[in-house]
Amino acid sequence: MSQPLKYLGQGLAYALFAMVLGYFSTSPEYTHLPADYALVKLSFNHAAQRKKPCHERTDAELAKLPPNMRIRKDCPRERSDVVVELEMDGKQLYHVVLHPPGLSHDGAASIYRRLLVPAGTHRFVARLKDKEEGDFSFVREENITLAAGRVMVIDFKADVPGAPGFIFKN
């Protein structure tokens, strides 16, 4: 192969290398969120109610315990499951039962869930139950207009004075 042809061949090889790098460093484009869609992120940490309430031990109960464990108040650590429901325009979008983590099942239950929904105005209903018996302890309903590409975060805070419950951040 003559010298000019060799240089041409090398140039072509380098050009091919550069073209591969140049193209695949940005292409093809990836559509993460389709147009006219929005994202709902349901996410919170919440420690549910204890399964059994605290009670005062009787003297007889205390006597059965080793001396170093004789504490009058007995609070069983295990917490209830957290049941969460999310409804959009009357249809259930998501339902989950969160078990409390930890060896004693006494930790705060956590959730992070992303839900793709069409953009527009929707009626969202979020419900949460964090005790063994009864109906949902917290319910929030709201009409929300979601712009395309928008992320709405549904959080939950039980310790907000005066207004514990779901928070819709749009």
């Binding site: 380098y14 140049g22 992070y112 590409g149 959080d155």
Partner: protein, 522 residues
């Protein structure tokens, strides 16, 4: 399957041999090019770091200022940083693929293979970490995606993705952490790169200069034609829609949403485990015998340890009471059974009249056997131009070159050929010329066989070819298994050249190795 891929690879490499030549063929220097690209990334990164500001707003703004306000410097260097990183992934994966196809991953090579697989993870962690630092929509997509991916693992008490729910969740300290990571992770990467080459004697970590210059030039041209640009500033209240993804680093991310995080863990974990198991899973049933040291014929010169391509020979204090300081010890786990050590031993002298044993030999390829084979091959030679061909089992088939005037002998590696054997066959006009054949240059199966052979025959590395040997009667032919035709052509050219040479007798050397003139007293 691997045989088919090997043929395909050899053809592809041959295409590149035409313009680049064997010595500069990028396919033979993929590991070294990866090293070069790493240093390019480091050098460009140091410049970028001088202008980078850590902060939710400052990070993006500082990168934008670099890209647009000083496009001629910061912009080009940013693009170079990006493309050299991408290039690293390409050359690294091709390096892995090539070593797999050529079977260079088992036995004594397992350590390099396994450390190389771990390097892939580190390169990806570095690259992905770098993309976070820009804090544009792409960074946002990767940050959230990575958090969602890791949340699949039962490791965290709270989902990591909760750290990216709203703008306020990300603070300036996060970027300090990112930039700290973008310095420390490459340092760890460098450490592993050093470990990766630790078992390689004379590891090639720098590509040939012209190849490095060509690669750098290609990246600079690309940086000017297509500068690396950011997406819009990250905004956690908005979901990234259409993203210009860097597929070299970020290809698994869309799979998180097409499949699931668990499936992506299964994919990358499965590939990693598969790659890690390859050296044991696909190893040959039998392994050739490893080199043996014969201390009676060893003066502890260390040539064998110097020349061993895989650091399988260590020099230890002498144990046999002979008046030498050191003796070689072979680590059987590292020995490649290439015989390069035999070629390096000064005791590999076929002229010896006593029992011919070298200081270090390969069982099954002993020096006495080699001399007997040479003698047998030469005995049958006829014709005016008689040639001895020394070849290599990993390269072109030299046995196919045998004819009335051509004798051929194939060794485990051409580096096993002691230079004295060339002297031996040319002396007393037993043959008129010698062809030394081996793998394609730059692609020696045992890395250093060709290099040491050329240096020894050029009298630049011990053991030297004696000065009395006329170099014009020696020809090299670096030809792979598909290059038999080239070997034939080289042999024909050598024979034609020899036919033109005047008849001459190989002369003796004096004590200092200087060639004596006819009539001189030795």
């Amino acid at each position: 399957m691997r045989k088919y891929l090997q043929n395909l690879l050899l053809r592809l490499e041959n295409v590149f041999n035409a313009p680049f030549g064997q010595a500069q063929n990028p396919w033979y220097h993929l590991g070294a090019i990866t090293f070069f690209l790493f240093w390019t990334v480091v050098a460009s990164g140091i410049y970028l770091y001088a202008f980078y500001r850590t902060g939710v707003a400052e990070a993006y703004q500082s990168v934008e200022r670099l890209t647009h306000d000083q496009w001629y410097a910061g912009g080009v260097i940013r693009s170079l940083h990006r493309y050299a990183s991408d290039g690293m992934v390409v050359t690294m994966l091709l390096h892995l693929l090539r070593n797999f196809i050529t079977g260079r991953f088992h036995s004594f090579r397992w350590f390099s293979w396994v450390s190389g697989v771990l390097l892939i993870w580190l390169v990806y962690i570095c690259g992905i970490n770098g993309y976070w630092m820009v804090w544009d929509r792409l960074a946002q997509f990767i940050a959230v995606g990575t958090a969602e991916w890791f949340d699949w693992l039962p490791l965290f008490s709270q989902p990591l993705a909760r750290n990216f729910l709203a703008q306020d969740d990300v603070n300036d300290r996060f970027f300090t952490l990112l930039s700290f990571g973008h310095i420390t992770i490459p340092l760890v990467l460098l450490l592993f790169m050093w470990i990766h080459t630790k078992r390689m004697n004379h590891a090639e970590t720098n590509p040939p200069l012209r190849l490095a210059a060509g690669t750098l030039l290609a990246l600079l041209v690309l940086a000017l034609i297509k500068p690396a640009l950011s997406h819009a500033h990250a905004d956690l209240a908005l979901a990234p829609g259409v993203i210009r993804l860097d597929w070299f680093y970020l290809a698994p991310y869309p799979l998180l949403y097409i499949w699931s995080p668990g499936a992506v863990w299964a994919l990358v974990g499965g590939i990693t485990l598969l790659l890690l198991s390859v050296p044991w899973f696909l190893k040959p049933r039998t392994r050739p015998a490893v080199a043996e040291v014969h201390l009676d014929n060893c003066n502890g010169c260390s040539n064998c340890a110097e020349d061993c391509p895989y650091s399988a020979i260590m020099m230890r204090p002498r144990q046999d009471g002979r008046p030498y300081a050191l003796q070689p010890v072979v680590d059987p786990n590292l020995c490649a059974s290439c015989g390069i050590c035999t070629g390096a031993c000064p005791y590999s002298m076929p002229f010896r009249s006593d029992e011919l044993v070298s200081g270090i030999e390969l069982p099954g390829h002993e020096l006495a056997q080699l001399r007997a084979d040479v003698d047998r091959a030469l005995a049958g030679l006829r014709g005016d131009v008689r040639v001895m061909v020394f070849g290599c089992n990993c390269a072109c088939d030299v046995r196919a070159l045998q004819s009335e005037g051509v004798a051929a002998l194939s060794l485990p590696c051409v580096g096993m050929l002691p230079p004295a054997f060339i002297d031996y066959v040319l002396r007393d006009a037993r043959v008129d010329g010698v062809m030394v054949a081996g793998c394609r240059e730059g692609d020696c199966q045992y890395r250093l066989g060709i290099r040491w052979t050329k240096l020894r025959l050029a009298r630049q590395r011990l053991p030297h070819l004696r000065r009395r040997v006329p170099l014009q009667r020696i020809e090299y032919c670096w030809a792979g298994v598909q290059d038999d035709e080239r070997a034939r052509a080289t042999l024909a050219a050598l024979r034609a050249r020899i036919a033109q040479l005047p008849q001459e007798t190989v002369l003796e050397d004096d004590a200092r190795g200087h060639q004596l003139k006819p009539g001189d007293k030795n």
